[in-house]
Amino acid sequence: MSLQKPLMRGLLAKRLRFHVPIAFALSMLAAVGWKYGVTEPRKQAYADFYKHYDAVKEFTGMREAGVFESVRPTGE
């Protein structure tokens, strides 16, 4: 009984033809997912924080709490 001759050439090309498009698709998916899942919310969070940010008020709060060494709370 004679067996069929096995494939001798083009094995890597065949594997790449199958796996590279999948790899590309998954990578694009990961990138898009990261952009809209992480970076856009983060940018929005920063924007919201600084929209109504009063630097002097925050500084005074920190000063009164006593965390600075260059300025002590107003009482002392």
């Binding site: 983060r42 969070a45 920063y46 924080f49 925050e58 709060g61 920190m62 709490a65 006593g66 965390v67």
Partner: protein, 243 residues
């Protein structure tokens, strides 16, 4: 003769479930059981003697010697240890210096027989010494194989090979022992660690006290640590509580 990967040959005279090393041992030292037993006895006494010598050298000499002698004793001790480990691990490949009581050492420079999955055709036949019946069977093998009966074919197979692939590949319950040993050692280690926590470790640093940690959290909130997305972002400064 090619080793059969799928056949499960059942021949009544053959021990179908041999431990892995026994085929190699049998192929080297022959089927002579008596030699194996006396060899084991001598093996045991030698290892006991070797360990006693090692004990002498390392324990009794170590306190009284100068560095030079300790080094020499250590070197000799390691030699004895090596001989002891050789005696404990090998039982067939013994040193020629032991004399006539042991079976002949395996000559690793000659072709050897192995029962291994990756070696379907070992370098030599399994049985070296053939009985006259085996010899005549080998002669018959030179003729047309259709004239061989099934028993004869089986006998010829067993002359050339010790175990078939299914016999070689049969799984054992060794993993249970391994898992049990691992869990036992982990348990022992756990006990040791508990004892260490009670008797060895120094007292914990004061920075781990609950009071210190509370003061630390308050200071972090005062400093506005990560106020946008992190730590202080979760604190409501108007109400003075976590969001």
């Amino acid at each position: 003769m090619v080793r059969s990967p799928f056949l499960s040959l059942s021949s009544p005279s053959h021990p179908a479930s041999l431990p892995p090393t026994s085929c190699f041992l049998l192929s080297v030292g022959g089927d002579k059981k008596s030699k194996e037993e006396t060899g084991d006895g001598l093996n045991r006494t030698f290892s006991v003697v070797a360990l006693w010598l090692l004990h002498l050298l390392t324990v009794h000499f170590h306190s009284q010697t100068t560095t030079m002698l300790r080094l020499t004793a250590g070197r000799v001790g390691s030699l004895v240890a090596r001989r002891a480990t050789v005696a404990l691990t090998t039982s067939s490949a013994r040193m020629a210096s032991h004399g006539h009581e042991v079976s002949e050492a395996a000559d690793m420079s000659k072709p050897m027989y192995w029962d291994r999955r990756e070696i379907p055709l070992p370098d030599k036949r399994y049985k070296d010494i053939l009985t006259p019946a085996d010899e005549s069977l080998k002669e018959k093998e030179k003729g047309p194989w259709g004239q061989l009966s099934n028993e004869e074919k089986l006998a010829l197979y067993r002359l050339s090979f010790c175990q078939t692939y299914p016999e070689m590949n049969q799984s054992s319950s060794e993993w249970k022992t391994v898992v049990a040993g691992v869990l036992y050692c982990i348990g022992l280690t756990g006990l040791v660690i508990i004892w260490q926590a009670a008797y060895v470790s120094p007292p914990a640093p004061r920075t781990l006290d609950a009071e210190w940690q509370a003061k630390q959290v308050k200071r972090m909130l005062d400093m506005r640590v990560s106020p946008i997305e992190g730590f202080a972002a979760k604190w409501d400064y108007e109400k003075g509580q976590w969001k």
